[in-house]
Amino acid sequence: MTFYVNNLCFDYGSAPVFNEVGFELPPGSVCGVLGVNGAGKSTLLKCLIRILDPSRGEVRLNGLDLRSMPRRKLSRYAAYVPQSTGAQLLSVFDTVLLGRKPYITWAPSRRDLAMVEKILTTMHLDHLALRPAGSLSGGELQKVTIARALAQEPELLLMDEPTSSLDLKNQIAVMDRISDVVVSQGLTAVVSMHDLNLAFRHADFFLLLNNGAMHAFCPREEVTPEMIREVYGIPVALERVRGHTVVVPLDSHQPREAMRPSLVKTG
């Protein structure tokens, strides 16, 4: 089960957003899509699941052509988690049940209901099941959206900055959960990320976008500080801390001395 993208291009009329993106991912792997704001990360993800129509190129999952597949069938193979979802009146249970929509013809089966329950329980959302999704906090809502994507039983997970509205604890929890699912079920995940440290922690492959072109695609181990400097425009060092690679931005300024709080005299 491989995810294969070749020569993918997209433009808004005359302005090209990205050109000739191509990569291949094995099952059970997470690919981090990185680049500065406006590099086309979100656009690339939307092209992969046909929310936007690429101008040319090939997208294949296990040899199946995703670009010519009927939409309903596509939604059984690939799931999409947007950057943010609007406030909505649908209950959490209904929202996750929507993930079963590609399989439901008239009414949800017992299996659909049981699966939603199972996913809600594993993601610790069961106590919120009947609340309107719009009344949840940003982090909870993001987890609900991920739960909905998992309910689609996809083989390909596309996520647009899934951790953007989460605090540190939830960032790690959500990304760990995604990594677990990806590895245990042999899925392929393409995740756009802002946080380089998070990418080094969870992504097996790096796809670096720069100025509408693919700057590099390589396994995590082969990412060099030069690549990151070329894409983000600032020099960095990659350090190992307790087994994790962390990115340290380097610039001409030395770290500022810590300020001491000055006592304010009262009376």
Binding site: D94, L98, L113, I119, P132
Partner: protein, 370 residues
Amino acid sequence: MEYIDTRQGGRCEDPGPVARLYGASIARRSLMFSGLCLLLIVLAVWAVTVGSYHLSILDVVRSLLGVETGTAHIVVWSIRLPRIVAAMVAGCGLGLSGLVTQSLLKNPLASPFTLGINQGAACGAAFAIVVLGVGGLEQGAVAASATQAWPLHGMCAVTLCAFLGAMAATVVILILARLRGMSPESVILAGIALSALFTSGTILIQYFASEIELAAVVFWAFGDVARSSWQELWILGCVTLAVLVYFLLNRWNLNALAAGEDEAQALGVNVTGLRLTGMILATLVAALVTAFHGVIAFLGLLAPHIARRLVGGDHRLLLPFSCLIGALLLLGADTAGRLLVGSGALPVGVLTSFMGAPLFLFLLVRGINR
């Protein structure tokens, strides 16, 4: 693809406590639906009994069953029942039309009134009455003119022109929306611009009208359910039912669209196609209601909002609830109007505006506090 069963080793056939809780919440709202249905039936039967000609419940039931054949039968079948059925069917249609325009455009302000459909119909009717010089108000709409030699005559022409006006508004909005890439905000703005255009068109026509024509135009614009024949009711009822079935078939798609356009596409919904077909059907119903019954303001906005308060955002429940609440509100308002004035002269459109606007504001304020 067996995501949970095999790989996580869990059995997937038995819904657990959360799913049961969810099932119970659906069942509770279904029960509420049955209760409201019962309320509608009771209200309808009671509405047949009230009025200037006194009828007992027994008379009504006997007339409905065809046992009674005297004056009671005529009063029930020719005067009260068409009006009551018209109120229910028109209310149902407006509730449906309002709900789906709001859902498809993802805008709580969308309704036949804010999209300029009502104003288009009023302008069309004014055009027919003043410029074409047709439409004596003493005739019933479609049925009465069927006997006449020239089909484009009388109330039929007025109804037809009103329908064309409403559809003109619809088509302009759809074309504009298509050019602007169907952005929901631009659709509402286009609707407001069109409302202003059609309203000034109506005023212009009224300026050149004679006193009698002017009275006819103004009287037409009052939303009124008393002017329908059984023939029109059949047309309206069948169209509303067909459109309701279409949207019920698309209820999951509407739910997906509520989650967001991108999400809906990723869940397999053809969003552009659903929007276009849905808007055409929803405005068709609104245009028919307005052509037959005049401008019934606020109902298309109010009914879906009440339905959302009652059952939340699930279109599986929202669609029937919005229809039912529309029917209840319009029948209630019409019956209240008949009781208030006595002879049945107060048009229901006046009452829906009077009652609807404060009720709507109340709902908004409640919503902010919650």
